[in-house]
Amino acid sequence: MSTGMLILALVIIFPLAMFVGRTRAGVLNRGSQRLHSRPVYHGVYLALMAILPALFVIVVWGVAEPLIINNSARGELPQTVLDLPVAEQNLVMGVINNLADGYNRLSDDELAQMRAGADGTQRMLAAKGIFLPSAPEPFMVDVAEHMASAKMTSRLLAALVSAVAAILGFFIGWRRIAPAMRARNIVERMMLIGLLAASGVAILTTFGIVMSVLFESIHFFSIVPVTDFLFGTVWDPRFSAPGREGAGQFGILPLLWGTLFISFVAMLVAVPVGLFSAIYMSEYASSRLRAFAKPVLEVLAGIPTIVYGLFALVTFGPFLRDTGGAIGLEISANSVLTAGVVMGVMIIPFVSSLSDDIITAVPRAMREGSYGLGATQSETIKRVVMPAALPGIVGAVLLAASRAIGETMIVVMAAGIAANLTLNPLEPVTTMTVKIVSQLTGDLEFNSPQTLVAFALGLTLFILTLGLNIIALHTVRKYREQYE
């Protein structure tokens, strides 16, 4: 029985146990003593008593089982394999794992064939949807057989133990149901724990991001020195062919430059357009225009980035190239300008909606003072409103910049592939996000620096955007406090 089935069983048990508990409490209620809690709380109490211990068993089992089984399988490997480097041992373990999975799907005939070490084993398994990287050796089949039977036993045991836990929990819960029991308080405490746990998921996610990216990055830096990564000016991660030495060069500088260059062009578009839109909407526009324009700008933010990428790829890039050709400029279809301008349009709403809020938050008295001195509206905006709103606007711009740096699909589709240290916006450059995608799609050979570098790039990206976000959120918050 798989874990999913067990959990499904618990989902079915829950309402049943709840019904039983409620009925039981209802029966008790007819006695002389009044119930402390309403029957429904007794029901929920009994249901929780029935499923929580079993759920605990299932979760612990699910984490521990693979560790224990893998360890014991490793112990059965012949000495020749144990002498191999860890990476190759892992490869062997991978084959064994796949073989063990296959045991459940093969018929007895096919199993006998596999034990006999027939040639067609690999093909036979592939037909069942199990792909082996290499033909299994006899010792692998043996270990896999043990593993498969261990897994079967473990599954059965898991089902048994969780069933016992569920029954025990149910029984204890049943015994405890009494008029005086404070079922509501217990259930509410459980709910509170559940709420607390839910709010912890956000922390857990951040923790997961940091750990996964950091862990693989450390792995990467054990192969490629940190200094080569941070200060290298050449990006050339050759996928090492067999018999070829050297992992290639992993200098991040060309990628970092490409990222910053495209983001800079994007900001050149987004900041003026976004800011002037915000000013116009908050200071000049009639309420009807505002009611129309604000949602339309938000549509820009709601369009998936893949659509912008497609637009840049099939329409805007060729358009720029052709116009460039017409006036004698050689513009590559996937130039910095293409990706930058389209990305700029994408982040206009990020700049404008936040700036709009911030400009509106500037107190009316300041404007009125300025008008009273005879300033025109634009003079008031330039001399009074803008300086007052500046910190908040800087925060908005920083937030938009962090969006631009982390943006992926537009650059994957519309920016270049080759790492290029250039100052010319008409040439293509590539970015960190593009390289993360290109290093991790396609056939993966984990543990090679070519794929691990994606995590190092991810770490850089995370730190960069996190830094910008923290500064931005801090300035925006400080600004808000100033006028509240």
Binding site: L196, I203, M281, F462
Partner: protein, 434 residues
């Protein structure tokens, strides 16, 4: 000590009015900048939609031949076994071609003529006939009318993507094929019909048999996972933070965390999914369950923030009223605050779903870029997602895929539009002013 005399320069009336004019001109210019900025954004939006629609509308029709095909028993199931395996293995392409030869009057002895005629049909016709026969074996032996898919090149010819002015040698369809196609069009046999295939096929290397079904089902599974996980967790977290959390460091940490998570680049969530769900927990690559989990983590901050806003908007008097008549705090929240906050929570949820449905980058990391022909039946089967399908089609070279890419984009935008409209409707319908 002499007083410094500030020279007073009195402006003449002319100078004054000149200055005023200048200032007013500056005022008007400033206004125009704002209008220009807004117009730029609107213009770009219009161009964007126009470009997608003009590229993509033709993907919703597909050329096909309305031809009666004789489902010959001697070809499909000569021994009359009725065995599905025999029926499945039959040569349906032959049947389709035979029918077309008859309709066109092709000389069956002439090889080049036959080859050209074969070139008019899509390679997907055998699947078309096979599905029909497998679905209803009683059709064997009858003559049934089908809309046989035309080849992608013929489709391009009809849609004007292949020009007739190009010399024959450089054209994908030769003169004889053009003549045949024209005749069939005249006779009303070859026609552009609504492209049901776009919604019923999976991946294919031929544009005319490539469809979005796998992607739509995959995206649907992901949305289900997101709704099942992100909504309960998000609402629970919001309730805790708004109603129970004491003001302390831990709460501050959670809050800063949520705000920052909302701004973490989506691709980093993909890395998380790859490292944790696939490498650590060993979940299958290319499965929509993993995609759903990653998207759940991504949309969680959006939902938490929206739910908190909705909960704060419920006035304290409601809570106090409930507590006053003897409800516990948990009862006040579950019986009164949450139902009142529900419309706001649902609006926020839909906005989160919209965000999740359009997201591509993290899905590329966890292997949802696969060539999947079979429709996934569980969230653990290999699948793709709508935006990922757009990406895959956009990066393939054939002309037929360009139109399909834009067509798929229209479908995606259509879904997003419907969801947004639902959110707006909810907000308008249930908005309550206290």
């Amino acid at each position: 000590m002499s007083d410094t005399v500030i020279p007073v320069h009195r402006l003449t009336a002319d100078e004054l009015s000149a200055r005023t004019r200048r200032r007013y001109a500056a005022e008007r210019r400033f206004r125009y900048y704002g209008i220009a900025a807004l117009s730029f954004a609107f213009f770009f939006l219009i161009v964007l939609f126009a470009s997608i629609v003009s590229n993509g509308w033709s993907a919703f029709v597909q050329s096909s031949f309305a031809i009666a095909v004789k489902l010959d028993r001697t070809v499909i199931d000569p021994d009359n076994t009725g065995d599905p395996n025999v029926i499945r293995a039959a040569d349906y392409t032959k049947l389709a071609r035979q029918a077309l030869y008859e309709r066109l009057g092709v000389d069956a002895e002439s090889r080049p003529e036959r080859r050209d005629a074969n070139g008019l049909l899509s390679r997907g016709v055998d699947t078309q006939l096979r599905e029909a026969v497998l679905g209803d074996p009683s059709l064997i032996g009858q003559t049934v009318s089908f809309n046989l898919l035309a080849n992608g090149d013929v489709d391009a010819l009809l849609k004007g993507a292949i020009s007739r002015d190009v010399p024959e040698a450089n054209r994908q369809v030769n003169d004889r094929q053009v003549a045949w196609a024209d005749r069939m069009v005249e006779e009303g046999v070859l026609k552009k019909r609504f492209n049901t295939g776009l919604f019923t096929f999976g991946a294919s290397s031929q544009p005319e048999t490539a469809g979005l079904l796998v992607a739509i089902v995959g995206s649907f599974f992901m949305m289900v996972v997101v709704v099942l996980l992100a909504v309960p967790i998000g609402v629970a977290a919001a309730v805790y933070l708004e109603e129970f959390a004491p003001r302390n460091r831990w709460t501050d940490l959670i809050e800063v965390n949520i705000n920052n998570l909302a701004a973490v680049p989506s691709i980093v969530f993909g890395l998380l999914g790859l490292a944790v769900f696939i490498n650590f927990f060993g979940l299958p690559r290319s499965a929509s369950l993993v995609g759903g989990l990653v998207l759940t983590l991504m949309t969680l901050p959006t939902i938490i923030i929206a739910a908190r806003a909705a909960i704060t908007a419920v006035p304290p008097s409601i809570r106090e009223g409930a507590l006053g008549v003897g409800a516990s705090k948990m009862q006040a929240i579950t019986h009164h605050v949450l139902p009142l906050a529900l419309p706001g929570i649902m609006t926020g949820t839909i906005i989160g779903l919209v965000q999740a449905l359009g997201e591509t980058a993290p899905l590329l990391m966890i292997g949802l870029v696969a060539f999947v022909v079979d429709v996934p039946s569980t969230p653990l089967d290999p699948a793709t997602a709508l935006p990922v399908q757009i990406y895959m089609w956009a990066t393939s070279a054939e002309r037929g895929f360009v139109e399909r890419t834009a067509g798929a984009t229209i479908v995606l935008l259509g879904f997003l539009f419907v969801m947004n409209a639902a959110a707006v409707y909810l907000r308008k319908r249930f908005e309550r002013r206290w």
